[in-house]
Symmetry: D3
Subunit: 250 residues, 6 copies
């Protein structure tokens, strides 16, 4: 047994071995779905989410005859995307509160950077299906769905349905948290399940914030911590915007 | 018609007529429910939420034989709590995503200040039912549910089920938003539906943050705006903690 | 211990202490809901039901283009309206048979005194939500819903949607039962759960009967008993009609 | 065209051609189901209901370890039992309020004449399925279910599960109504849909009343009318008890 | 105990006592439902299925304005059609996979012999409700539904809605299986539950096959066995076509 | 325009351009899922199905304390696996009849080659999720699920839970159909939607048939055609067994 001198503090080591501001390896594969008008398979380390954008010519009732379009999202997880098998929501007959919360967040985030009026009366549904889960699935979904949406709009332009792309800006998301007192970027499942604070940050290419959700899992957090998490998120989303730019170039 | 001089800027006026950092009149009525072990009727202006705490001697399966308790919440709205009647969720056969999101938030917030191990194996369900809605119902629910929970624990102490109250701190919540470019406290429905940014802040009596949710409804917001909203929230919840102290004194 | 002489029969005492033909204290608070076109909070002792009337301009499919209106009711109970918490029907995903039975009764009772043709093609939904339950909730709901409906029709007259009030008569309801062999008026929960016979009587201001439902909980009852219960109900509803008159005067 | 003298009043004629106190032809076929422990196919004119009694050795949770049994009922209607096809409740995914109301009534009626303690801890489910509907299905169901239940108890006696039959009395039901001002017995569908008042009377062999449900479909009714309906019902159920006696003799 | 010589093989005996190619007694009762436009009660031994055909003037959305009709089927089983009571699907709130599989098969089989264009825009729903189950219910349903459908089309001709019967051919079905190594015709429940292979064959009057479904319950089966089963089915359906011809003659 | 001579018959060309007995390119990727105990991603041309096998230590109630295991399957399709987006079954709240039919078939097919007693009391759930659909998904699912199941059993052997692999034989499936009068192997979506007859054949490595389902989509088919389809299927599954052998070698 090692005899540590008094006052010794173990050096900070994340379960993933990453340094505090290191993101996992992220890859975006545009066009990953054979049939969808736009699609992107996004990976954050082991986490893998297939995002597809499907165009429909009709809008929800509250938008009929307004000339305005709609963007919405649905989220799902394959039963064995996780370490232990989860129930299939289709078999249970309802979507969990978590699923609904996440798909509402994805839809809101993408609408925040879409000019719905410029779309005309059409709907786009973003399906974000988690093939493998290892933390950060909702952030991966938002980031990948942006690419799928962009590609679907490009498809509309090529098909002469639209003249300009109604996406006004990039949007991407990343999770950050406080782990053993240290703010860290991009939590994987092992880190997320033990973090003291856990937050999701949705940001735009021009530096604005679309949504912040931060939750104390253990002790409450302070404003300072929130600001540090936000700084990490800003750096992380900055990299994601670069990858999105590459992905849509085709 | 008035002839305004060039460069004239209308003075800032909220729809409610309140100044930026003014909260609506808040009242807490402890013991408002005849049968519940703890209860509180909370009003934020016109908004009115009945919070009850119900004790059960069994815990969810994942806590059986752990000696630990559980606090959970359910949220509902009377069909005509709102300006136009909404569908009754019981008749539709399912709770909306919004309902589930809110009740998960309430439960998380209250668990953040409860020593679940000190409860022993018992469950408390916090029912938060909106009798009249005018914005801020989830924040009112959290603030009132804390009182109901505190009273239920006091009931346990009087009944010799518990020796000390497992609540470690106060928790309260308030909404803030950016309205016509100005950060304002405690949005009512008219303000909330037109705010550029809308946030809910859940804070503890000792100054920590339990949960932050901020969403850009129009243009993205900046870190500076988020900090200003948080400062307003800190002032607002400070007043709510004082009212909670009065309410539990009985 | 008291030594009773042979043949002694304990004087009749209801659990509530009331004499056989005494109703609980009843109060009607018209306009109790902020948003509804008509509303009434009704109390029968501890029992407390909020009744709201909501106007919609469309009618069910079977009435389209008939020029006729519709009145329907929905009934609910807050989970902790009762001594021990009941499941939330919205969370369970369906309304119980009891709930459906009651809301059908309320709807039928109000339609019985409404000139549906005189309404024109509009619908009114009466939401009756039990805030506190102590027996007699369906009767309280019918009695309070009549006030809410009347006020909603008055609202239509003030708004020039209607010229005359389509309500042709009062309707009110009261429960009666046989308790320890004696017919008694207005059962509270403690009495209801031990009554030998339990009935609900829905009557009109002009003395007619709209609905009778009487059930033997123990031994079957006789015609004579039914007639006695009906006489009690007639007296009880007579008082309720007076209170309704006061309530709608405003 | 016939020239009626002034003051001529058409003689009373029911749609069915029956006189006011005439019941339709009723037949009871005991043992109509191949597999059930007790069964009876009952016909009231065209109305045809198959009643089966199924024994299970377990009781609902609230009766476990009480030594007491339970009798419950389920009611259904084949989609084309009616003049125009109704939706299949299994396909719609829920039972209507009407279905639930009826099956609760059937269960209550049969429990009223059963000594649940004498059953021991067993459950009997009475399935009442309407093969053809022409009015009066719930009354036919109660009357036929009594025979099915009696036969199921006899089966228990033959199998040495019970020593005595826990049925304490007969129970039967009949509908009565006011048709063109005249109280009439046993309404068929054509009469029921135009009756001014419509009631169902559940009575016991010893002359008691188990349940009365009477509803004014048009104008309210009077006590006198209710009494006349009840007298008709008493005569009608008297005949039904005789048929039940024949049916169980087997 | 009998002392069998070496190599002795017990003579083949089916549980039903029938020889391998013997069908149970089959009866078809056309017009068994009072209200349906076409109907047939079909019995295969103890198995008893009521088939009704209901005409509606509208078609499913995908056929609107195509001038084409539709034939669909629903299948159900009374809870006590079986040896032990099954749950009522309406009460459980959903149809089992088995129910859906069977009703899809019935619909497909009848559409295979119907000239949907010759129907014009009308729908016919075939309700097949099992009153008593003893194996072979889906085959009985197909065979009886054909008669119900034919009668419904005749009804349309009599009502001048159609000029010619859109049924182009007969269709009937029979189950066959391998029992103790021997291919046998028309399995009853006792045989079906122990058969090594179990198949349903849907055939047309002109000798074609509409659907084959054969499943190995134990060891896999061979092509030869499948051919033998099909030969049995051909003989069996041949007899059923004769009965159908008699049934529609009326 | 080409001027064809009389009697000219266009040479047979499948939409896919394949000759009648050509299968699409098939690839099996074992271990495609990060977390599952066994998994296989299987592709038939464009069709892509992810099959995972998840082990649980408990069995369904009817197998408790029998020492026997269970294998079951669930099937799903990503909403945009298809040419046009389909509704998400989890959002609709129920699985379609088609989904249930397919997952029952997969489960049956795998159980046919598994020695359930040799498994001991454990359950394996095979999740077959279609990522891209282009015909033949249920056959791909069966073929891929066999690999996933085999790998899961190998995992049990490595973990000392089992000594021998309970799989007694291979099982694979392939669709065949009649296209323009010619029997063809392995229909893709374009072929399947226009085939006159469409069948699925589930076969074992030792040459037996586990399940045959053949349906006439247009005119009925003959025995000869069924035999030709089965011969094609035998050849096709022969190749699939070879690929399975390679896949499990790892």
């Amino acid at each position: 047994m090692i005899d540590f001198p008094a006052g010794f503090k173990a050096p900070f080591v994340r379960p993933s071995g990453r340094v505090a501001d290191a993101m996992r390896e992220v890859t975006l594969t545009p066009g990953a779905s054979r049939h969808a008008e736009g699609s992107c398979l996004i990976r954050f380390g082991v986490t893998e989410v297939l995002c597809t954008a499907s165009i429909e010519s009709r809008v929800p009732p509250f938008l009929r005859n307004t000339g305005q379009g709609w963007v919405t999202a649905e989220y799902g997880m394959l039963p064995r995307a996780t370490h232990t098998r989860g129930d299939r929501e289709a078999a249970k007959g309802k979507q969990s509160g978590r699923t609904q919360e996440i798909q509402r967040l994805i839809g809101r985030s993408l609408r925040a950077v879409t000019d719905l009026k410029a779309m005309g009366e059409m709907s786009i549904t973003l399906d974000c299906d988690v093939l493998t889960a290892d933390g950060g699935t909702r952030c991966a979904a938002i980031t990948g769905a942006w690419v799928a949406l962009h590609l679907a709009f490009q498809h509309c332009i090529r098909s002469n349905i639209l003249k300009v792309n109604p996406l006004r800006d990039h949007v991407a998301a990343i999770s950050c948290g406080v782990w053993q007192g240290t703010p860290v970027l991009d939590l994987d499942y092992a880190e997320d399940s033990k973090a003291e604070t856990d937050g999701n940050f949705v940001m735009t290419g021009s530096g604005g914030v679309v949504e912040v959700q931060a939750t104390a899992e253990g002790a409450p957090f302070s404003e300072e911590e929130l600001l540090k998490l936000m700084a990490l998120a800003r750096a992380g989303t900055g990299k994601l915007f670069e990858m999105q730019k590459v992905a849509i170039r085709g």
